[in-house]
């Protein structure tokens, strides 16, 4: 039987929302106080949802030790206590939480093969959250 498993992880990072393609005034108008040149930080909460058949012998979709190991190594260690704008994936992309969602989805999709990746959801603050489930989900309208 197929089940979905979701695990939450936390990391803290700073960023600045700023696009080189816009003027200083446009940046300020678009990003408001998130455009502060010194940057600012958040405690990000990332939810990774994977799915698959529940293995009859183990009773699991995938072993949490494997998922925790992968996400700890490839996501938490990569982003925790970092300035997102300095990372290669945000050299040209603005480090909005939308783009962070896509970046994390791509890392997990590429590297974690013990269960099917369904979705990445990130809470930037308690008041906002973002989800990305891959391009196919957009095409399928799910």
């Amino acid at each position: 039987m197929k089940a979905h498993l979701t695990r939450r992880y936390m990391f803290s990072a700073s960023h600045r929302l700023h696009s080189d393609e816009m003027s200083a005034e446009e940046n300020l108008a678009t990003y408001g106080k998130c455009n502060n040149p010194y940057g600012h930080g958040h405690n990000y909460m990332v939810e990774i949802t994977v799915s698959g058949a529940v293995d009859e012998q183990m009773g699991m979709v995938c072993n949490l030790v494997d998922l925790d190991g992968f996400v700890g190594r490839e996501i938490v260690e990569r982003y925790d206590r970092q300035h997102l704008n300095l990372l290669v994936e945000f050299k040209t992309n603005v480090p909005t939480t939308e783009n962070l969602c896509v970046a994390i989805y791509e890392i997990v999709k590429r590297g974690f093969h013990r269960a099917h990746l369904e979705k990445v959801r990130i809470e930037e603050t308690m008041m906002n959250s973002f989800e990305y489930a891959g391009e196919e989900s957009l095409v399928a309208g799910r």
Binding site: A3, H4, T6, M58, G59, M60
Partner: protein
């Protein structure tokens, strides 16, 4: 179609062990969850049903009825129990959160009359939950 979710909490203990495996394999796969004395969690259950809104009552489902079914079929059986030793589904199956979500679905689904069961979500901790949609 409207979706309605009702929450409940229960506390139970469990441990992970597969008797077909050696003690070393059990320890390797299940880690500290393999401690035979068990350990406990405060589980949060979310039951989501779906259906059309009845034009007379304005309800998808009578909440009192849903609550009664959840109490009788799930909470009375699981709350303050040692899942491996007291809940029949787990005499032979490992009481992982995945299997718990499936077992709760199977307990509720035949008893719900008005509304259709859509999802069973079980939080083992605030950082881990499983969704089961009744998929084979």
């Amino acid at each position: 179609m409207v979706y309605l979710t009702r929450k409940a909490e229960f506390s139970a203990s469990h441990y992970y062990h597969n008797s077909a495996l050696t003690p070393e394999e059990n320890a390797r796969i299940f880690g500290k969850c393999n401690n035979p004395n068990g350990h406990g969690h405060n589980y949060t259950l979310e039951v989501t049903v779906k259906g059309a809104v009845d034009p007379k009552s304005g309800f998808v489902v009578d909440l009192k009825q849903l609550k009664d079914v959840m109490n009788r079929e799930v909470l009375d059986a699981l709350d303050h129990r040692f899942l491996n030793k007291e809940v029949p589904e787990f005499f032979s199956q490992i009481p992982t959160t995945e299997n718990l979500a499936i077992a709760i679905w199977q307990r509720l689904e035949p008893k719900l009359k008005a509304a259709q069961l859509h999802r069973v979500r079980v939080y083992e901790t605030p950082d881990l939950f499983v969704d089961f949609y009744g998929e084979a």
